[in-house]
């Protein structure tokens, strides 16, 4: 999977967790939690959904790298390259 595909996968996952949020203008360089209503439980669910769907393990120490959309794509790209 490539960067743009991964980005849309993440947005799709977020949309599943917070279905009422408008994600069309989500910026890549600002913390996701600063743009939409997303608490720590929801954030954990993004990680959990990625594991459920693609079997990707994100250790707790790496959560910080998933805070922005750009950061998450960069972090996931090598881990999802084989998918």
């Amino acid at each position: 999977m490539l960067g743009e595909q991964i980005r849309s996968v993440i947005v799709e996952v977020i949309a599943q967790i917070v279905p009422d949020e408008d994600l069309s203008n989500l910026r890549g360089d600002i913390r996701i939690r600063d743009q939409i209503e997303l608490d720590s439980m929801d954030f954990l669910d993004i990680i959990m959904e990625l594991r459920k769907r693609y079997g990707i393990e994100v250790p707790e120490d790496d959560y910080i790298q998933m805070a922005t959309l750009d950061g998450a794509v960069a972090y996931l790209e090598p881990r999802m390259a084989h998918l």
């Binding site: 917070v18 009422d20 209503e37 439980m41 669910d45």
Partner: protein, 461 residues
Amino acid sequence: MDYDVLIIGAGMSGLAAGIRLAYFDKKVCILEKHHRVGGLNSFYSKDGYKLDVGLHAMTNYVSKDVKSTPLPKLLRQLRLRFEDLDLCQQHMSVIKFPEKKIRFTNNFEFFLSEVAENFPSQTDNFQKLLKTISEHDELSLDAKPLSARQAVSSIISDPLLVDMLFCPLMYYGNAQEHDMEFGQFVIMFKSIFCEGFARPQNGVRHILNLLVNKYRDCGGELRMRSGVQSIRVSDGKAESLLLNSGDVLTSDKVLSTVGHVETMNLLPNSDATVSKHEVGQLSFTESILMVDKQPSDLGLETTIIFFNDSDRFSYRKPDSLIDVSSGVICCPNNFFFREPLPDNMIRLTNLANFDRWNSLGEEEYKMQKEACLKAALEAAVKIVPDFRDSIIFTDMFTPKTIYKFTGHLNGAVYGSPQKIRDGRTHIKNLFICGTDQGFLGIVGAMLSGISIANLHLLRDK
């Protein structure tokens, strides 16, 4: 290993935890000793009437556009839609004391105006209290306990207002006699006054069906009539559960919803002595009265009345079978339903003493139930118009009934006053959620299951 996680108890917290685990592909099984799910929030039928246990109203009601409060959080976590709960809002509730009453609805501004009108000298103090409440992190899993009586009395100088604020919050979610933990006060204050009351058209059955269906859709297994006889431990680790049927199930982790002391009692004797945990004392009688017309036609317009008829409000285990000097009068018909409920019902809740009820012989138990129902009614009709001539059916459950069906010691519906917020026990793979974890009420119980599942059961592979 048979399962990743075994859950003891199919109440609100066990089902919610089960949904989380099953959704994320854990192999999970919920064991329920009863033939019915729900635990403290279950249901039954008698003489053709469909009756709820526990549920008067669901607290924490907020409209669909609110995102950050417990109810929407819970829905997101369980992948449920707002509409799935089918919630209908309350008409109006009231706190009624001898000299004053404070009414409230699901509109917080109305509650503020009621407080201001009845306690004009406390207006500034009340604003200070609201500020303290909004700044408190009540969902912290490692907060130090603090006396709510002290905290609130240091801000609100009129003891009558203090008592009136505590009355509904204690009745709807306090395990402690006389006082309340401040975090719990904040949770309850928000859930009742800032948020509000609602009820599904079909009562607690609707919520339970929703949870069970979701759990099964996610692949979870539910075994009814499967009481757990003991938890087998080796090297400080729970290894398996022995069921009353003689079956043995193994699992990597165990989540118990049956109460802390109740869970410890399932451990081998040597382990059981490790815990010197307080047992809850507070229990209630619930009188259920069917009437021949709508409660509003009998002059009962409010949804829920929290009343106190003595000088000071006293929330404690009474010395006698029941204490009718305070209580709750609930009219389940008085919500904005799409169509009227098939039955017209009034429910009365009073503080009660488990030991006294439990010591009665069979005949005397029956007689006392009748006598206490009569006393509860006499007290209630001092507060609301006399509806006794319209009664066509009565039933009452006591602390003994609650113990019999749920196994909660002393019939303590809010569990032990000593809460274990992080859900840990001295057994490293045995966790608790539900009443003794500490988030109470229906929404609280579900959040309790979700929180503990997230914290201990989901993160590792």
